[in-house]
Structure formats: structure tokens, C-alpha cells
């Protein structure tokens, strides 16, 4: 069964460093999303991406964040200068159509020291 994959599974970084989180969505899906979950809290929407551009973003997704689909398979989230409060589990999700099931990847646990 097709699945969303994410790398790395864990990332430890120093405050102020840049990190890139990678995702490979399900191959025939068109809609891509990033969410995050701070430990013990609920999952929060960050950004949606369709047709090679951001279609919607939350207040969390400030200028420190960017997304890219550099080729036909990868979807990346970059945090330019990490802060302590960026420590969280980051989930990528994809869907074939708007309003259809969103399939989530296993997540990248980011720890900012």
C-alpha cells in the first residue's frame, strides 16, 4: 500500500541553525501539507501546497518557514533559524483531492537545543 515517508526520523539541532525536513508524498497525490505537534499538545496545521505554490498557511508559518517541491517526488519544509519552541514532531501529509483522506507520514521529531 502506498505511504508517505519522511526523513530523518529524528533531528537534533542547535538554536539558530537551519533544518530541512523531507517528505515523499504518495505518488499520485496533488495536495501536500505540513503539520506539527508539540509534545503533549494537539496537531496543528502549518501549510498546504498545491500546484507548486503555497495555498494556505497558518499564523505559525512565519518567515522562518518555507516549503518546496524541488522535484517530482520530494516535499520539504525548511526552518531557517530554529528556535527552542520549534521543538516538535513535524508531520507531512498528502491527499489526492481536496476533501479526501489525508495520509500522514511517520513524522520527524525535531529537538532544538
Amino acid at each position: 500500500e502506498p505511504e508517505v515517508t519522511q526523513t530523518p526520523s529524528h533531528q537534533v539541532t542547535q538554536m539558530g541553525q537551519e533544518v530541512i525536513l523531507r517528505c515523499v508524498p504518495i505518488s499520485n497525490h496533488l495536495y501536500f501539507y505540513w503539520y506539527r505537534q508539540i509534545l503533549g499538545q494537539k496537531v496543528e496545521f502549518l501549510v498546504s501546497f498545491y500546484n507548486n505554490e503555497i495555498s494556505e498557511k497558518s499564523e505559525i508559518f512565519d518567515d522562518q518557514f518555507s516549503v518546496e517541491r524541488p522535484d517530482g517526488s520530494n516535499f520539504t519544509l525548511k526552518i531557517r533559524s530554529t528556535k527552542l519552541e520549534d521543538s516538535a514532531m513535524y508531520f507531512c501529509a498528502s491527499a489526492g483531492l481536496v476533501g479526501e483522506t489525508q495520509y500522514f507520514g511517520p513524522g520527524t521529531r525535531l529537538l532544538v537545543l
Partner: protein, 114 residues
């Protein structure tokens, strides 16, 4: 306002019993999805129910949706120890230009004792 609030926050049952979790939301929705998350792991999709549907089944899972009360329930029948996990509802709200981003609740932590 909070969208997607589950109750109870925690539920502990014996293997073989049924588990019912509820979700309430505040705004009109296109669909509601239920997910399971084992501790510290990824989100596994369980069921999607659309706003024009009232009930859906998948194996031991039964989901209901009452749009007049803005609530949904997830029933797991004949629970197993392997069902121990957190369960989240997530809503796709009706909005102009919606791209389907989901609003999650805080989840119900289910513990099934063998």
C-alpha cells in the same frame, strides 16, 4: 474557538469491552476524519465521514456524525490491547477556497487492559 474537542480525555477499559469516544466541533464542515496515534508515533487514518453521511463502518469501527449537534462519535467494538492509543478527530471546515487543511482536537487517550 476550539474546533474538534474530544471527550473523554482518557478512557480505560478491559479487553473485549466497547470504547466510545466523542468529538464536538463549532463550525460547518466538509468532512470529519478520525486518526489513531500510538505513543510518539505517526497518525494512522481510520475513517473519513462526509457532512452528508450519518454513519460509517470499517471492521470493528463505527463512526457517526450528527451535523445538527456538530458532533461525531467513534465506537470501537470488542476492543483489544493493541487498540491502546490516542484517538483524534480532525475537521475540514467549510471555507471559501478551502484547501482541506485539518483542525485537530486534543484527543482521547484509550487504554485497553488485557
Amino acid at each position: 474557538s476550539q474546533q474538534g474537542e474530544e471527550d473523554p480525555q482518557a478512557l480505560s477499559i478491559q479487553e473485549g469491552e466497547n470504547a466510545t469516544m466523542n468529538c464536538s466541533y463549532k463550525t460547518s464542515i466538509n468532512n470529519l476524519q478520525w486518526y489513531r496515534q500510538n505513543s510518539g508515533r505517526g497518525l494512522v487514518h481510520l475513517i473519513l465521514i462526509r457532512s452528508n453521511e450519518r454513519e460509517k463502518h470499517s471492521g470493528r469501527l463505527r463512526v457517526t456524525l450528527d451535523t445538527s449537534k456538530k458532533s461525531s462519535s467513534l465506537l470501537i467494538t470488542a476492543s483489544r490491547a493493541a487498540d491502546t492509543a490516542s484517538y483524534f478527530c480532525a475537521t475540514d471546515r467549510v471555507r471559501g477556497g478551502s484547501q482541506g487543511n485539518l483542525i485537530f482536537g486534543k484527543g482521547t487517550k484509550l487504554s485497553v487492559k488485557p
